[in-house]
């Protein structure tokens, strides 16, 4: 697991060395990722931004070990993910990565507590410890009093907080959030973003968030801007935000979709 001392990025959680993801062949070839280099270090809260089709989702799937690169090196905590079998990637997810999705993706008719316990079941954590850790995770997202509610009995914001608790419960090295606020109104968006910031600052959890909403960049420490499969900018939110087209700037409280600029 430990890289040799020569490796310059031994501490990185995520490192891309010229990653390509190519679908199709010949004339129909689509380069979803076209030689991307990036790194995410422990304790960071980064946003991966870009319009739809920019490659940010593909990038997240690869970071999350859900998909493997076509070419190039992806190192997760120093492990070459490209060389792994699907089952080995699943084990990486199980032990090191927590997911939060736009659509919450909780199991229906299953209580919040049981949803949060699910990753621990696959980790073979004994039942007693599982309950305790799940309750702690629910407490951390402020939902102790909703432990026995099913998703249908919870609001969107509450469901997303359950999903975050589920991602947290395993103390992941990396929490990946795919448009976590996409289905929420602006008050709930703030609530979720503040929760993520708090988890990042208080618990030191590394978070990578994919979003197309420029407003969200205000909460993160670094923004990676994607366009046409390449990373076109990488830096502090203030610097990157102005690199995009004028329409993408967070001028008012109401974000405009970068997709509409096309």
């Amino acid at each position: 697991m430990n890289d040799t001392a020569k490796a310059p990025h031994a501490q990185a959680i995520v490192r891309f060395d010229g990653v390509y993801k190519i679908y199709g062949e010949g004339d129909t070839e689509v380069r979803a990722l076209d030689g991307v280099n990036l790194r995410i270090d422990p304790g960071e809260f980064v946003a991966i931004m870009g319009s739809s089709g920019s490659g940010k989702s593909t990038c997240m799937n690869i970071i999350g070990c859900l998909d493997a690169p076509t070419r190039g090196g992806y190192f997760f905590r120093g492990v070459d993910v490209g060389a792994l079998e699907p089952n080995q990637r699943a084990l990486l997810r199980r032990h090191y990565i927590g997911f939060v999705f736009q659509g919450y993706n909780l199991l229906a008719r299953t209580t919040a507590l049981e949803n949060v316990e699910l990753p621990l079941v696959y980790r073979r954590v004994p039942a007693k410890e599982r309950h305790q850790r799940a309750r702690e995770a629910l407490a951390a997202v402020g939902l102790s009093d909703r432990a026995n509610h099913t998703p249908a009995e919870l609001s969107g914001g509450q469901q997303q907080r359950v999903a975050i608790a589920r991602a947290l419960v395993c103390d992941p090295s990396l929490l990946l959030a795919d448009e976590p606020t996409g289905n929420l109104d602006s008050a709930k968006k703030m609530e979720i973003m503040e929760l993520l910031v708090r988890l990042n600052e208080e618990r030191g959890i590394t978070i990578a968030m994919v979003t197309h909403e420029p407003d969200m960049s205000g909460y993160v420490s670094r923004v990676m801007m994607f366009k046409d499969g390449r990373m076109v900018d990488d830096g502090a939110p203030a610097d990157v935000a102005y690199a995009g087209p004028i329409s993408q700037r967070p001028l008012s409280g109401r974000p405009s979709s970068p997709g509409s600029a096309r």
Binding site: N61, G64, L66, D67, P86, N87, A90, L91, R93, R94, H95, I97, G98, F99, F101, G103, N105, L106, L107, A108, R109, T110, E114, L118, P119, V121, Y122, R123, R124, R166
Partner: protein, 401 residues
């Protein structure tokens, strides 16, 4: 891993009560319907076979009339007491001979009356037709030859006239003849042809001939062979003897008929064989329909469950862990459904056989076939879509609509 998966599968079954119920329902109906159908069919077949046995499978009936020339029976002269005596003396391989005469007559006791079939015969009639006594006694040789006004009642006649009270010693009227009841026959039930064999008043042959029929004709002669295998030989002898006694020239048609119950039994058995085959075909169709029901509910689950599979994969489940869970769920539901189906099928067919008064015969093979087929379909269609979904990229599975 197995224990964890089992717990997870059972939890998932309990959680989705409606889905689990519907899945099981398909299997319950598939298995239950087939088992009920086949069990009832088997019972009916067993009943028919038993009825043929009750009729007496060593029995031959000699009756006047021919069957070949035209449709139905042509009128022909009856037999005489001498014919019956000749059969007894000349035909080998026979056990008993019972000359009979049959009439339908009104039977009256007190203020009740009942139209029944009055049979005049000898005491041996009981043996050739396999009747047994419930109470009272048989007619003696002397009573039969003297033509005494005595009778034995079949169970149906007894019930109609006397209800629950004891008819022994009572004097009933048969048409204009008063006669004393000396015995009651045990119930035999319907014959294979649907006749009530208990609707009978048995009297001495001579009594019926003289006082009811007013002629000495004998309408048919019942002959029982010594064994089943000798019936064909007995039949040949009976035919040649009767041709000779009735002076039928060679080449002319018989004006009498010898019916062999063995032949009739065989015909009936082949008819019930057809019935069984038909029931089997219906059972196969219901099994198929049940199977399609199971298949549908399993496939309908797929959308919701594809997302579930995506979620499980994303949070780190291995494909084989997810598949094992789905397999366990399908096996548990199929087994539960199968057991409930067998129970309901047997209970239902037990109730049905009781109300149809046919024997309750469990066919072990069909239990296995119905259960096995339904379980196979349930497991296959519970597992295959899961297998497909588990091979998807988790992200694609999550996007599945």
């Amino acid at each position: 891993m197995i224990r964890n998966t089992l717990v997870m599968a059972l939890r998932e079954i309990r959680r989705n009560t409606l889905r689990s119920f519907l899945t099981m329902l398909g299997i319950v109906i598939g298995v239950g319907a087939v088992i009920a159908l086949v069990t009832i069919g088997k019972g009916a077949t067993a009943r028919v076979t038993a009825d043929i046995g009750k009729l007496g499978d060593k029995l031959l009936i000699v009756s006047p009339g021919g069957m070949r020339r035209s449709s139905g029976f042509s009128a022909a002269q009856g037999f005489t007491r001498e014919d019956a005596a000749a059969i007894k003396n000349e035909v080998t391989g026979i056990e008993r001979v019972a000359p009979t005469v049959n009439r339908s007559a009104l039977v009256v006791w007190g203020n009740r009356n009942w139209s029944s079939s009055v049979t005049g015969s000898t005491s041996e009639y009981l043996d050739v037709r396999a009747y047994t006594l419930e109470s009272g006694r048989r007619l003696t040789e002397a009573e039969v030859s003297a033509g005494q006004p005595l009778c034995l009642l079949g169970a149906s006649v007894k019930k109609e006239l006397f209800g629950g009270s004891d008819p022994l010693g009572a004097t009933i009227r048969v048409e204009k003849v008063s006669c004393e009841v000396v015995g009651v026959l045990a119930a035999k039930g319907q014959s294979g042809m649907g006749q009530d064999q208990d609707d009978i008043v048995l009297m001495p042959l001579r009594t019926v001939q003289r006082r009811l029929a007013g002629s000495n004709d004998i309408s048919s002669i019942y002959v029982s062979a010594q064994s089943k295998s000798s019936t064909a030989r007995v039949k040949n002898q009976l035919e040649s003897l009767m041709r000779q006694r009735r002076r039928i020239t060679p080449g002319a048609e018989d004006n009498f008929m010898v019916r062999d119950m063995q032949e009739i039994a065989e015909a009936m058995t082949s008819a019930t064989g057809t019935l069984t085959a038909l029931l089997g075909a219906i059972a196969a169709v219901s099994l198929l329909v049940g199977g399609i029901g199971i298949m549908n509910i399993m496939l309908v689950n797929v959308t919701e469950r594809t997302r579930e599979i995506g979620i499980r994969l994303a949070i780190g489940a291995l494909a084989r862990e997810v598949l094992l869970q789905f397999l366990v769920e399908a096996v548990v539901l199929s087994t539960f459904g199968g057991v409930i189906g067998i129970t309901l099928g047997l209970l239902g067919s037990y109730a049905a056989t009781r109300s149809l008064a046919v024997p309750f015969v469990i066919v072990p093979n069909i239990l296995f076939v119905a259960f096995g087929f339904s379980a196979l379909i349930g497991i296959l269609f519970g597992y295959l879509p899961a297998h497909k979904a588990a091979r998807l990229n988790p992200i694609e599975a999550l996007r599945h609509e």
